[in-house]
Amino acid sequence: MAEMWINMGPQHPMTHGLWNLRIKVDGETIVDAEPEIGYLHRGYEKIMEVREFQKNVVLTDRLCYVSSITWSHAYCLACEEMMGLDVPERAKYLRVITNELQRVASHLMWLAAYGPDLGLLTALLWALRERELFLDLIQLISGARMNQNYPRIGGVRNDAPPDFGKYCRKVIAHFRKKLEDHEKVFEQSKLFQMRTVGVGRISREDAIDWGVTGPNLRACGARIDLRKLDPYDAYPEIDFEPAVAHEGDSYARYKVRMDEMRTSCDLIEAALDKLPAGPYRSKPPRRAEGEGFRRTEDSRGEALFYVIGDGDDRPYRVKIRSPVYSNIFAAPLMMRGNKVADVVAIMGSIDVCVGEMDK
C-alpha cells in the first residue's frame, strides 16, 4: 500500500482534547508523525498580565482542569519568590497534601483514559470510581471538585476541616486495596502486556534531549523528580523515593504512574502525621517588583512559572512552561516503526492535557 497521511484529530477519539496528530502510514506501519497543536490556545500569558496577582490563581486553575491545584500552586510559589514572602509551616504541609491528592486524582484520570484507548472501557469506570473519593477529599478541604481556587499567594485559602486526616487515611487505605484490582485488570493481563511492553520506546538520552519530564522521563530510568532535586514546600522534610522504571516503553510509563500513586498516598500520610499547628496563610503585599522563577513537579512533568513584577499590582510578564508541550513533540520519536494501533498505546501513556499544552 502506498504511504499516506492520516489526520488523527482535531476531533478524534484518540486525542482526549483538541489537537491533531498527523501520522504517515505505510499500510499499518507508522513512518512518520507530526503533532499539530494550538487549537485550544487561549492566550494565558497575556491574560495574566491584566489581572492582579491573586486573581490569576483562577486562571491557572484552568490550565489543566484535572490537575488544578498543582498548577495554581506552582504559580503561587513563583509569586512568593518574587515577593520574598514566607509561607507558614502549616500551609506548606497543607499544600503537600492537596498537591498529592490532586496528583492521585490526575493519575486516575489518566488511567481512566488509558483503558478505553486500549479497548478496555471497564477501566474507565473503575478508575473514575476511585477518583471520586479523592475528589471528595479535595472538595472537603477546598469546597470544589474542579478548579478549586485553593492555593493562595502566601499559603492556602482555608485550613483543613476537622477530621480531615481521618477521612484521608480511610480513603487511602481503601484505595490501596482497590489499586490491586486495577493491576489485575491491567498489568496481570497478558493482552495488556502485549499492547504496551516494548511499544513506544524512547531512550534516556533522547528523552532528556527532547525535554521530556515527569513520569515519562522517570520511565526511562532517570531519577529526576523536582520534589527531590529542587525541593519546595514541605517536601524536603518528608522522606520518599520517586518511582522509576527503566524500559522507557509504554508499559514503563504505566508502571511509573501506578507506583507514583502509591508514593503519593505515602506522602499524604506522612504529611498528615507531621502537620503542625499554626497559621495557614500569610498576607502578601499588594504590589511587587522583581522576578520569581519556580518549577514544580506537576502530575505530568516539570511545570515552570516565571513571573516578573514591575511594582504594579499585576504581573508585567508571565511565562508558563508546560510539560506536555515538550512531551508531545517527543512522541514522533516513540511512534516511528510502530503500528497504527500503537498510536493510542503511546499517546495514552504520555498523558496529554491539551489545556496546559496550548495555554
Binding site: 488523527m8 477519539p13 484518540m14 479497548g119 472501557l121 497504527v340
Partner: protein, 457 residues
Amino acid sequence: MSGHLVDLWGWSHALASFILWLLSLPLELVNWISFQATGGPAPGVPGLIDFVTGEGLTAFVAVIIAVNILLLWATAFHLLIIMWIERKMYSRLQDRRGIMIGLGSAEILRNTLGRIPLIGRPFRRPSHLGTGFLQTVADGVKLFQKEVITPATADKWMFHAAPVMIAASTLMLFVAIPWSDGFWLMGAYESRVVNGAPAVVPVNPWGILVVLAAFSIAPLGILIAGWASNNKYTLLGGMRAAAQLMSYEIPMLLSIIALVIYAGTLDPFELVRNQTAPLTYGLGPYGSLTVPWVQNWYILNPILWIAFLVFFITVIAEAERIPFDIPEAEAELVEGWTTEYSGMRFGIVFGFKWLRAIAGAALIVILFFGGWSGPVFMTLDAPNLAASGSTYSIPILFQEFWFTVKVYLIFIVFVWIGWSVPRVRIDQILNIGWKSLVPLSVLSILLAALARGTGWF
C-alpha cells in the same frame, strides 16, 4: 422426549395455504358467476385456481413466510434481548446499573394510574428505575429517524450494497441454523432409527457446512463497505477485517473438522441427537464407560477440548468482539469500517454484528453443548375432549427455551471476556491466528482421529 414448541414449516405452510385460499376466492366467485351465466366454468379459471392453491406455489409462499419469521426471530427477539443483556452485563462489570428505561418510565402511567390515591404510588416513580429494556427499542427507533447520509466521494452503489450483503449473509446464518427439532427451515424429515426405535426425524446432512459458508460471506461485504466509503479509516478497518476474518476462518474450519471426525456427521440434528444419549467414554479394547443421568455433550469429552478452545476463540474473532474488534477499534480508527454509515445503515452494520455473535454462540451450543437438549422437557397435559382417552401436550419447558438459554449463557461469556480485556493489535491477532490456533486445530484433528481409530474416548 419431543418437546419443541415451534413447527416452523407446518405453521408457515398452513399460513401460506390460508393466504392462497383467500386469494383464490375471487377466482371462485368468477367461476360461480360463470356457472350461473353459462352453466360451465370460466375458461382457464379452474386451472388457475389449481395453480394458486397447488402445492408448488404454497411451498414457495411458505418459504417466504418462514424466512420472514426467522427475520423477526433474529431482529425482534434475539437482537433486542442480547443488546439488553450486553448492556446490563457490562454495566454490572463496571459497577453501575446501566440502562434503566422500562415500561414504568412511561409518562402516561404516572399521569393516569399514578394519580389514583393510595394505590397509585408505585406508578409515581422516577423515570429511570426500570429494567432498561425499552432503551434498546428507543435506540432502534432513533436510528430509523436519522438521515442516511452518503458521502459525496463514496462509491454509491457499493456503499449501499454492503449493508445489504452483510445483513443478508447474517440472516442466512439464522436460516441455516436449526433452533429446535421443529424450528428449522433447511432440512427434511426422514425415517431413522433413533436410540433403537424408529422415528421420523429432521435431517440436514450438510447443515454445519452451510452455516460456515454463510459465515464467510460477511468479510466480503465488510471489505466492500470499507473500500466504498472512500475514507482512510474505513479503508484501514476494512483491510483489517478482511485479514482477520479470513485468517480466522481456517482454524475455525479445522477445529470443526476435528469434531466432524469424532462425531462422524455434519448434520446439526444428528449432532444434537448424538449428544442427548447418555455420556459414554470409549475404553478401546476394554469396552466403554457409560455415565447415567448425564448427556453426552461433546464438551465433556477431553479429546475435544482443544477443538472447543480454538472454535470458541475463532467465533469471538468472527463476531468482531473485544479483544478481536480491531476492524472497529474506536480508539484509533474512529468507528472502523462503519465510520461513514449513518441512520439505519449504521444500525444494520452495527446490529448485525451482534446477530453474528448470537449465530456463533448457537453454533457453539449445537456443536459442544448439546444443542436444544435440556434436562427437562416439561409439558402441560390437557385432556383432548374431541377424542376421549388422548391428551394434548402443551410444552412448557420446550427445546427452544433450553437452546435460547444456552445461547445466551455463551453470549454472556463473550460479554464477560470482551469487557475485561483490552484489544490486541492487527499483527498480534494474525500471529495468534496463524501461529497458535492453526497448529492447535491441526493437533485437535490428530487427537480426534486417534480417538476414532483406537476406540478410546
